[in-house]
Amino acid sequence: MKQFLTKTILYLLVTVLLSGTLIYLFISQKPEFFLGNAVDYFQCQYQYGQINKKTGFTNIIIGDSRGNASINPRQLGGKWINLSIPGSDLFEGYITLKRYLQYNKVDTLVMVYGMSYISEYSRWFNLRTIPFQFINYSELKELEQLERKYNYLFHNRAAGHATLRYDQFIRKLKYLHAPFSYRETFFDGLHSFCFSQSEAGIAKQKVITQLSEYRGYTNFGVADSNNTNNINANLRFEPGQINQHYLDQIMQLAAEHDIAVYLIDPPMNRASFNSYNKSVYESTIDQFLEGLQKKYPRLCVLQTDVWLPNTMFGDPLHVNNKGTTWISAEVRDRLSR
């Protein structure tokens, strides 16, 4: 029995240690393949780099991927930069502003967030912000305290105190790049590493050229889209408590640094608008935006077009360059008033 147990435990230990070492080596050498999608990694790292350095631009745009796609800062003027991070939220928005202010002065802040991201579950926090380590450890701890206060895992309802703690622990392992937490996706990473290196290299070049040339704007192509982004019209819009907390933080920072703040709900395509128009969802969003305007006198909700034709979309959510030109011009006009 002793021999059996010793051998079994030895085999198990060797397997676990070996797998851990393998994953650790690959993550440390090629994080773009082993922490998630390579293109996302390059795009996010570029934007993180812009946020953490002196750029000289005093007017900034923050938001999610629709923020990336909707406004071309070159169209707004020489002092504009788009610091939007795909899949991000008001939490990342707050971190962006806080970091950017450490190196730069900000006069105007434009926030572009799809409303669904402010209320619904979004997996991008766990897929990008955490593995790509956008936030530092103390910021993560701060977020955890908030989550415990509201018994609410960022972007997700917690099923109870124990579940919340467990999920936070798993997330922390991912944040710390603990090898075992990337075990299940290791083979996907290895597959990309072996077969998509050249494509990833080309994509990286393309993404970085585009972002640097257009100051953070992402072109979602020229293709027309007739796809519908299905909106559940009977749903009541409810902002997440943590998002509300970070909106407060953003407004506080804006007041401290005397920044003019604008919020834009990016337009949707025609097909989506048909299900959205006169729905419960629409009226609750309107109420929310009106409430914000009253709560924060410094904040101005910029009313752009609620919908644009399908020909201005690259996919159901993101406008193409035609749409960007349109929205950017509209924003420029509104801001100049």
């Binding site: 029995m1 079994t8 085999y11 198990l12 797998s19 393998l22 075990r183 290791f186």
Partner: protein, 473 residues
């Protein structure tokens, strides 16, 4: 609880430690522990259906005494009661909805419209397996091959022993009960072999079957849009998916049983190296085929009462075997196709040609003739698997039709490469292992490397926790 779950990884060592370190001195308490562990294992999925398992076990235990009576009339009465009881449980939980719907459709054909009441309950996991365990026990007592067991715990362990409870192998009382009633001692060789089987079974399930499942599911869902060759590759992939899934489960079951000092019946004997359909059925799900042979085919007269009756009996067991898998016409069709494949062999008296030895035992490679025989048999089996995998008959026929007509759709070479990545190593390993009776023995020098590579692969693929296909039966 699934073998490929984290819960089981915690459950198995816990029971193992209690079994060998706490209760090792008393056979009775070891059996009690196994029984509790087995009910816990089953109850983890649904404690409500555990009640059904207890009732079924208790009734068959009682019928065992009834069929052992000297008065054969009374014994026969108890035998029929047991059959009715077991088939009744199966009929209610597994087949009632099917028959009710067929009845409704038949009435509709006559112009009569009725709303039949359907049961809104899931099929209890492993129901077909544990009822068959119970029936084999009662049949063996009736045939005086087995004496009724007095100790209820022993009998309950026979029916509900957790490694075989939910998907077999379907054990025989004469094989397992003596092991349950005999003092067991820890045996290093047996336990090490058990670990090797568990590792190999997990590899087949977690790495091969679950990876192929993603490809197969996609192909069967969108078969209209796939190129014919992709659909053919999809059918082949399913053949290996179900083999990896079910034989993987069996290997884990056999390996787990060995850790507790039990030897279970072999369920697979490299079925895809069969040279004809008769050999395939001697190598695929052996415990079920032999169950039907012993308790249905032979009592019906087998092949001893003339060709016509032999043909009738063959069709009966294949159709019943198909229906055993599920209440759906597609399973009956699957059984029927195999019966048609078996029939020429039966008529030409060639069904026992490859009754014992595995192909090319003394050689490294098969001869051209053997290779072509294996290919033809595999193609036939794969064709039948399409019916088994499809959602219904319509989808099966649609899939087969598209696999000979869809030549305009784009070919998916990447998918083909992916399938090869999983299938070729599995075939190669099976070919290498076919003479070693599943012991997974490898040369001493490379042994640790092979085990660690297998364990690493299992570890990297582990975590999806997909169900075993045979759980639904």
């Amino acid at each position: 609880m699934l073998f490929n779950s984290v819960e089981f990884l915690l459950f198995l060592p816990s029971v193992f430690i209690l079994y060998w370190f706490v209760f090792s001195r008393s056979l009775h308490w070891q059996n009690v522990l196994i029984l509790i562990a087995s009910y816990f294992f089953y109850g983890w999925w649904s404690w409500k259906f555990m009640v059904l398992l207890v009732i079924s076990t208790f009734l068959d235990y009682l019928y065992g005494f009834g069929v052992a009576l000297q008065n054969r009339k009374k014994a026969r009465l108890f035998l029929w009661l047991s059959v009715l009881n077991n088939l009744g449980i199966l009929g209610v939980f597994k087949y009632y909805n099917f028959f009710a719907l067929q009845f409704q459709q038949a009435l509709a054909l006559l112009g009569l419209h009725s709303n039949v009441v359907l049961l809104q309950v899931a099929i209890p996991i492993g129901i077909s397996f544990y009822t068959f365990h119970g029936m084999s026990y009662v049949f063996d007592i009736y045939r005086e091959k087995q004496k009724p067991v007095r100790n209820f715990i022993d009998y309950a362990v026979f029916v509900s022993f957790f490694p075989l409870l939910v998907a077999g192998p379907i054990e025989r009382a004469s094989h397992l009960l003596p092991q349950i009633r005999k003092k067991r001692f820890f045996n290093y060789t047996q336990a090490a072999e058990g670990c090797r089987l568990i590792l190999w079974g997990l590899f087949k399930k977690v790495v091969v079957a679950d990876s192929l499942a993603i490809i197969v599911d996609n192909l069967f869902t969108h078969y209209h849009d796939q190129h014919a060759t992709s659909l053919m590759v999809g059918a082949i992939a399913f053949s290996f998916q179900i083999y990896g899934d079910f034989s993987g489960y069996t290997d884990i079951a056999l390996g787990t049983a060995k850790l507790f000092g039990f030897e279970l019946l072999t369920n697979f004997g490299f079925p895809y190296f069969s040279r004809d359909i008769a050999e395939f059925w001697r190598r695929w799900h052996i415990s079920l085929s032999s169950w039907f042979r012993d308790y249905l085919y032979i009592p019906l007269g087998g092949s001893k009462q003339g060709k016509l009756k032999a043909v009738r009996n063959t069709f009966i067991i294949f159709l019943v075997s198909g229906f055993w898998h599920g209440a759906n016409w597609k399973y009956i069709a699957w059984g029927g196709i195999h019966a048609c494949g078996f029939l020429p062999l039966l008529l030409l008296n060639r069904n026992r040609k490859y009754a014992t030895d595995v192909v090319a035992r003394e050689r490294r490679l098969p001869s051209v003739k053997e290779l072509s025989q294996m290919t033809v048999t595999f193609a036939f089996v794969t064709f039948a698997w399409v019916f088994f995998r499809a959602a219904d008959m319509k989808e099966a026929i649609g899939y087969l039709k598209c696999s000979i007509t869809n030549f305009k759709q784009p070919k998916d070479l990447l998918m083909f490469g992916n399938v090869c990545c999983y299938v070729i190593p599995l075939i190669a390993c099976d070919w290498w292992l076919r003479r070693d009776e599943r012991s997974l023995q490898v040369p001493q020098r490379i042994k640790p490397v092979v085990y660690i590579v297998l364990a690493l692969l299992v570890l990297f693929y582990f975590g999806k926790q997909t169900n075993f296909i045979y759980f639904q039966f």
